[in-house]
């Protein structure tokens, strides 16, 4: 693990309630992201266009599936660089469609999706992998490879993006330590708890230094205590300048963190508030 200024205490605890106070571990996290994220320079292979614009922009996006069911209906919004945003709404409200449009697993029926200054409709197919390298993804079901250890799962993301062996060997323990998995590098996913598996998955998403981290129901399979730890980790990642988008229906987490909340219902944005909770101020269901 890379020791911070006061290495006497652990980098952070698993169930730390997120607070805006200064946190020594923050220095570790920032130090690991060797290239400052906000300086406007481009990293090698980076397809994002530097600039002051938003990280994600939807312009009148409609996604219609076969059989005329609507995934999204005329959605326009912006998510600024460095923001932490919750995307809430019941099942089938369009959260997954929203996320899949950003990583270009889907293409909009109408309107345009702009990520990191790139209009995804104009992105050539061969460039899509480079888009995904700039975006880290975390899912409810972790999507770890079951026959590989925690370290191998993380190393995989680096190998796939063409990193040298020495760099893989250096970065994997760093990032695993960062997400709080010291001493568990050689465990297979089935030997880890749900929270630990999700940490491996976050480490994998982070290891390529994404500008944007997307988490789709990251705490959906976890108990409340573990969920807190995961949300804390996401918040720390956000503090390094990474834009974080979390789709969730975990009401407690959203209420406690008081971040920007975008509520979807039947494919439409029904609420978009700064420093909000899962429900709107009248206490209604997210609508």
């Amino acid at each position: 693990m890379s020791d911070g200024p006061d290495s006497g205490r652990p980098a952070f605890t698993l169930v730390e309630v997120p607070q805006a106070t200064e946190d020594p571990a923050q220095d570790d996290m920032a130090a690991l992201f060797s290239a400052p994220v906000q300086d406007g320079t481009r990293r090698k292979g980076d397809i994002f266009r530097p600039g002051p614009g938003p990280m994600v922009e939807f312009r009148g996006v409609t996604k219609t599936y076969q059989g005329n069911s609507r995934g999204l209906d005329d959605v326009s919004l912006r998510i600024g660089t460095g923001e932490f945003v919750f995307l809430v709404g019941p099942s089938g409200s369009g959260k997954s469609t929203f996320i899949r449009l950003i990583i270009r697993e889907l293409r909009p029926t109408e309107g345009s999706v702009i990520v990191g200054g790139r209009e995804l409709g104009e992105l050539r197919r061969g460039k899509v992998p480079y888009l995904r390298r700039a975006i880290g993804c975390v899912f409810q079901d972790f999507r770890l490879l079951p026959d590989r250890t925690a370290a191998e799962n993380v190393a995989y993301a680096l190998q796939v993006t063409g990193h040298k062996k020495a760099e893989v060997r250096r970065r994997v323990p760093e990032i695993l330590s960062l997400v709080g998995l010291d001493g568990k590098y050689d465990r297979l996913p089935r030997e880890l708890s749900g929270g630990e598996q999700q940490r491996v998955s976050i480490a994998r998403a982070l290891v390529n230094h994404p500008r944007l981290l997307i988490a789709d129901e990251p705490t959906g399979n976890l108990d409340p205590e573990t969920s807190l730890g995961i949300m804390d980790l996401l918040l720390r990642i956000n503090r390094t300048g990474t834009t974080v988008l979390v789709a969730t229906h975990d009401r407690h987490t959203v209420d406690r963190m008081q971040m920007r909340v975008i509520a979807l219902q039947e494919g439409r944005v029904v609420r978009d508030e700064e420093s909000s909770g899962y429900h709107d101020r009248t206490g209604e269901v997210p609508a």
């Binding site: 992998p129 995904r132 700039a134 999507r143 490879l145 026959d147 796939v160 062996k165 390529n208």
Partner: protein, 300 residues
């Protein structure tokens, strides 16, 4: 580093999906084995047909009454066919030679002593470069005044025609059969790779998620297909070697073997060359089979 990783991934996948990989390997084995058995058999039949075709001679008989000038003119016409490549060789067989040959062939040559004079005509023995040219030779000299009126021109017309038809049939049947076999092998390996893609869909999903390029995802599957094709080919070559040494060589070694009488081993492919062709075919089958499947089922 990358190539090493691709190989490790391919081997990992083969281990993880052992049953599927074995199925692909066995498919390649069968296809390559049949191909390997067919190529020498086909070439043997061809060589047998060729050696029969080489025996198709045209005998042009000369009238006893023909003058020396007429005989010379006939010889010139036949030799003229040599220059345009129709005829390989023209041999003059005199009346005396014909009688001597007859004498050698007869069990009781003394009957010939009873003859008042030599009844056998002289002839030109004409060997065409190709059996198909026999007709051209006949057409060229059939009105020659030097021809013997009773014997004329003699050549084994029906034998030549039958051989030619058989040779063409063998050739086309061979091409069609080999084509069908290769297609079947490619489709079966392709199907195996599809199962492998399905078995590893989670890994493929993760690869896409972390931004692997299309070819990065494809390479391990390509290598997997090629390894299956290669291993199948090597085993098939081993089996063919066993059959060659144990059965074919023993059969050919028999003194009056029909095998050595009708064709020749020299006319078929040498075993090291066959090995090379089959191993190459195995690798190619694997590559094409997985390539086609990847194009269809691994869209990013």
């Amino acid at each position: 580093m990358r190539i090493g990783m691709f190989f490790r991934e391919a081997l990992r996948s083969i281990r993880a999906n052992a049953a599927i990989s074995v199925a692909a390997t066995v498919t390649a084995l069968i296809a390559v084995f049949i191909l390997g058995a067919f190529i020498p058999s086909f070439m043997y039949v061809r060589s047998a047909v060729d050696s029969q075709k080489a025996k198709v001679d045209v005998d042009v008989y000369i009238a006893d009454t023909a003058s020396v000038a007429q005989v010379n003119s006939l010889r010139d016409r036949l030799n003229g066919l040599r220059t345009d490549g129709t005829v390989a060789e023209v041999t003059y067989v005199s009346k005396e030679d014909a009688l001597r040959i007859m004498r050698e062939r007869l069990r009781d040559p003394s009957v010939l002593d009873e003859l008042p004079s030599n009844p056998l005509p002289a002839k030109f023995n004409v060997r065409p470069t190709d059996a198909e040219n026999a007709d051209v030779i006949v057409a060229a000299v059939k009105d020659d005044p030097a021809l013997d009126p009773t014997e004329g021109i003699v050549y084994p017309e029906s034998t030549a025609d039958r051989l030619l038809t058989a040779a063409k049939f063998v050739q086309w049947a061979g091409f069609v059969l080999i084509g069908i076999l290769l297609l079947a092998a490619v489709l079966l390996i392709g199907n195996t790779i599809r199962l492998s893609i399905f078995a590893r869909r989670r890994e493929v999903e993760v690869m896409r998620l972390v931004g692997a390029t299309n070819w990065f995802i494809r390479w391990p599957f390509m290598i997997e297909g090629v390894i299956c094709g290669l291993v199948g080919a090597v085993v098939a070559v081993g089996m063919l070697w066993g059959i060659k040494v144990g059965v074919v060589d023993a059969w050919a070694a028999g003194a009056d073997s029909a095998l050595t009488k009708t064709g020749s081993a020299a006319g078929t492919i040498a075993f090291p060359m066959l090995t090379l062709v089959l191993v190459g075919a195995g690798a190619l089958l694997g590559a094409i089979g997985s390539g086609i499947t990847l194009r269809r089922f691994l869209k990013v």
